[in-house]
Structures are given as structure tokens and as C-alpha cells.
Symmetry: C2
Subunit: 317 residues, 2 copies
């Protein structure tokens, strides 16, 4: 069976969206399922906000703000301006168009639709043809234990700009949560499982924390490949390196490969880290290869998706 028949990507926010876009450009829609972290979801201003789902959705719909990677291009902040004027909570910026998405999501969830169904409706309306699936319909909330106490994910990430020192990360609700039928079916049919270059601890671990997802990834016959989110000792975006340091983990692609032990058969490092490939292979007993993983243009994203598929076809099947 071809590796390309049913690719499943596990993704977080901005970095994950880049890989998702590359895959969406090189695979037919029925051959791609994107499973998105919802541990960052939260209630804010009475809205159900799903930051990673929206980042991926806007990216695939070619609506994302190119300057930030999240939010809607050319969006305005009129509603937030009024909220500031009233002295309301304005640390989490929601553009006006983005508010439209969140208002309708909240309305449809209150009407009894699942997050999976809501996401399907929203993404189809934006012309997205591949499957975009929240990791679960049940609430799972990433909690960050820090030197300043326990913070909800967005408090840590946005309000405190990931400056507190992290001591532990927990996923409240994950024990009770189940993957949706669509997530289970995708994992069971998978001919390739790709771990996007998202933060392993904050973006991918919440997905793996859902009962039945980690086991299915561990037991699948399909090849499983991660793309390191660390390039030359730096995170492309966000707190990955700082966080791994605080957690006492080797903050290099080796630490990433270690963290995904039993879950991956191979890892793609950036060309800047090509010297680490043999070390990763020896220490982790998996395959490693160096490719250009730093993605700016759409061409970069397509190129990495192509490189991923080709490497798996050549070396992991």
C-alpha cells in the first residue's frame, strides 16, 4: 500500500499549520487527515476559542495573517478596542473576523454539535477539502505548573508570554476524553503518521494524552515520522527550547527523538543539524535524515511535504 494513500498529521499551531499546508498541496484531499491539538482551547469572553484549530484552518484556507501565522489576514481590532475602553480583559487579541469564527463555533457548540462537526462545517465553508479533526470532542485543557503557580495554557503562553519557569505540564480531562470516531478511523487507516514540527510537550503531547491515540500510534503498521521543531539549537517559534531546558530535557533534536520513543520510526532534522543524524540513529534506534525544515514560503512547505513523503517511501517502507 502506498505511503501516500492516507497520511495522518498530528499538528499544533503555527508550525503544524505549515506542514499541514504543504501536505494539502501535494496530496489529494481524501488522502490527508490533520489531527489538531485542542489542549489550548479555552473559554474567553464567553466564547469557545480553539486557537490551533483556527490557525490550521485559516492557513489551509489561505486566510491566515502572514505576519503572525495565526489570526485572519487584514483583520481589524474594533471589538477588542471597545473591550479595552470598557476596562475588560484584552490580553488575548481576537480580530473582528476571527470573532465571527468564534461566535459561530460557540453558538453551534451550544446548539449541541460536536467540535468535530463544528470544525467540519467551518472548514468546508472556507473551501478546505481534506479532513481537519480536533483531537477530541471532550474538553482537554493544558495546564502549566510554573514558578508563578498553575496557569491555563493561554495565560502562560499569551498573557505571560511564556516567561514563567515551567515545572510540569498536565492535560486536565485527558483521562476521560476519547478520540472521536473520525480520529480513530484515520489512525487505523493511516499509511503514514507525521508529527509536525510543533512543540512536542505543548502541542503534540496533548494529542497523545487522549486515551487510545498513543496506543494506536505505538501499534500501527504505518511508518511514523517526526519533524524536529528545533533547528540549530533554536525553536523556530515559541518556548520549545526554553521549556525543554526547564524540564531538564536535552533541548536538541536528540531530546525530541528521545521524547517520541516508541512512537516514531524516523525523524527529519534540519540541514543545520545534519551532523546530529548519526548520533540520533545510534542513540534512539530510529532513522534520521536532514532536510530543509525551516519554512517561510508556500514553496518551502510543499518542498518539506514532498521530502517527507519521498524519504518515507525510500527509507522507511
Amino acid at each position: 500500500m502506498s505511503v501516500r494513500e492516507h497520511v495522518v498529521a498530528l499538528v499544533g499551531g503555527v508550525g503544524g499549520a505549515k506542514l499541514a499546508l504543504g501536505l494539502a498541496r501535494v496530496l489529494p484531499p481524501e488522502a490527508l487527515t490533520i489531527i489538531v491539538n485542542t489542549g489550548d482551547d479555552f473559554e474567553h469572553l464567553s466564547l469557545h476559542i480553539s486557537p490551533d484549530v483556527d490557525t490550521v484552518m485559516y492557513t489551509l484556507a489561505d486566510l491566515a495573517n502572514p505576519d503572525t501565522g495565526w489570526g485572519v489576514r487584514d483583520d481589524s481590532l474594533q471589538a477588542m478596542g471597545m473591550i479595552s475602553r470598557y476596562g475588560g480583559e484584552d490580553w488575548f487579541h481576537l480580530g473582528d473576523r476571527d470573532l465571527g469564527t468564534n461566535l459561530l463555533r460557540t453558538r453551534w457548540l451550544r446548539d449541541g454539535l460536536t467540535l468535530t462537526e463544528v470544525t467540519r462545517r467551518l472548514s468546508q465553508a472556507l473551501g478546505i477539502t481534506c479532513a481537519l479533526l480536533p483531537m477530541s470532542d471532550a474538553p482537554v485543557r493544558t495546564l502549566i505548573d510554573t514558578d508563578q503557580g498553575t496557569l491555563a495554557f493561554q495565560e502562560y503562553f499569551v498573557r505571560e508570554r511564556w516567561q514563567p519557569i515551567v515545572t510540569d505540564i498536565r492535560f486536565a480531562g485527558s483521562e476521560a476524553a476519547q478520540p472521536s470516531d473520525a480520529v480513530i478511523a484515520a489512525l487505523e487507516d493511516a499509511t503514514l503518521i507525521a508529527f509536525a514540527p510543533s512543540n512536542p510537550f505543548l502541542s503534540i503531547d496533548p494529542i497523545l494524552s487522549i486515551g487510545g491515540i498513543r496506543e494506536r500510534v505505538e501499534q500501527t503498521q504505518a511508518p511514523r515520522v517526526a519533524i524536529s521543531p528545533i533547528i540549530g539549537g533554536q525553536a523556530v517559534k515559541g518556548p520549545t527550547v526554553k521549556l525543554m531546558d526547564e524540564l531538564g530535557v536535552d533541548n536538541s533534536p536528540l531530546g525530541v527523538a528521545d521524547h517520541y520513543q516508541k512512537l516514531i520510526d524516523g525523524i527529519i532534522l534540519d540541514v543545520a543539524d545534519r551532523d546530529l543524524c548519526s548520533h540520533v540513529e545510534e542513540r534512539c534506534g530510529i532513522r534520521a535524515v536532514a532536510r530543509q525544515t525551516y519554512m517561510t514560503s508556500t514553496a518551502d512547505k510543499v518542498k518539506l511535504a514532498d521530502a517527507l513523503l519521498e524519504w518515507v517511501e525510500e527509507s522507511l517502507t
Copy 2:
């Protein structure tokens, strides 16, 4: 005691906001309480929307859209545009700045604040210094029985553009609702109660339907004056005349005076209806006077507020 010591105005939306603005310009803030209809309130897109409260608030804060009388000046419709794109409910237009107000109201109500306290916070932040009070903190919902079935107020008014034939009007929840302490105190201290030129059936009756409000208006020692919303046989705005016709009520200032029987001591008609004054006086046993009630500019609003206060001082005390 001076008539001007504590003026209470009962108001609905656009027409009510005009009188409220006039009174706010001629009275010191501590001498004015505006009690606003909340029978039009509804849940939409998971938000608690208080159309009349916001119309009055934006008008007093000099933020209202001058073209419509409601909504915020120079507002945009980015969020609604996204909602339309998703195929969501877009018949009730909420501008982006207006959404900021409604998001924060909804958040604060969910936090357990009363609508009175929320309105106080919002209006103070906008620099409003007089008291702006929702008629009640309990939900009261105006329901319109029509030839097309029973409609919620905004379905009738906005979605169906008040075209259905009205057979009855009900105020769901009004029997259980109580006025807030602030509303009770304002009515008990009132030195003048003014009925704004709002729709008597749709905007003022909901206020009077709250247990204890009608009785206090009936029994007060203060003079009580209505301003007719009908000028020369036409409603300045909205369905007043059409509705009175459908309800089998005389759709003239006489019908308005009749409707407010026992509740008012005098009524101000427009100069266009000066010939009706003596007829109203004879038939209803109240005083009637003709003044310019059609208000466009702020000067018009101030002039009517002045005329109201002067007439009461001269003729009703």
C-alpha cells in the same frame, strides 16, 4: 420640591434615546434616571444582547450611528461578514465595536453580575454620568403573536421587518420579574416621570409589566407626562401606527393618551397635532399641549427636554 430634582424617564430604543439625550443635556447627572426597556433583549450567537440599553448608552456617550440611531458610529461588519461566509445566522447585524459591548456584557453576566451592574460599568466607562437602569435584572421577553405565529421581538422587528399582522403582545417572565432596587428608589424619589416618545405597546408596556412599576407610576405624587410617538398620523420610526391599527386601537395621539390612562397627567403632542389637544383633554381628562416633538439635531432634543420641564413646571404642579 422642584420638578427638576429627580426626573425619571421611561424609554425604549431610538426615540427614547433622543429624549434621554435631551434630558441629559439640561439636567445635572444626579437629577436624571433613565429606565430602559429590556423586553427586546435576546440571546443571539451566544451573546446577551440588550438593544435598547445599548441604543440609549451609545446615544448618551455620543457614539451612536447618526444614520440609524442604533449601533456604533463608523462601525465595521467584519465579524458578521465571516459569519455570513460560514452560512451562519446573519439577519441581526452586530457591528464589530458593538460586538465588543455584547461580548463583555455576556462575560460579566456569566460572572454573576446583574444587568444593572453591567450596565453601570459599561456606561460609566463611556463617560455617562446619569443613572441608566435596565427595567429589571430578571429576563422579560416580549413575544409577538402574529398571523405567522408567535415571534420573539427581534424576529418580528428585525428579521421580519415588522410586516406580520400582530394579534397580541406578551411579556414572558414579567410576572416573576421584580424591578431592581435602583429602579424602585428612582420611582419613589421621582419629581417627574416622563414617558419617552417610544412605542407604547412594544417599548413602554414591557417596563410597566414588571411587578411594582405600574403601581408606583399610578400612585406617585409626581407629575407624569408622555410625549406622543405619533406625529400627524405617522410613527416617526417603526411600526407604532401599523401595530395600533392591527390591535384595533385608535392610531393617533388620542389612542396613546387612552393607552396611558391612569398613568399620565399630561401629554405633549407635536405641533402638527395641535388641533387634537382639546379633544385629548376632554376625552382623557388630562392636560395636553403641542410642542415640536420631531427631533433630528441635538438642539431639537434639548429643546424638547426644556419644553417638557417648563410645561410641567407651569401647568402640572
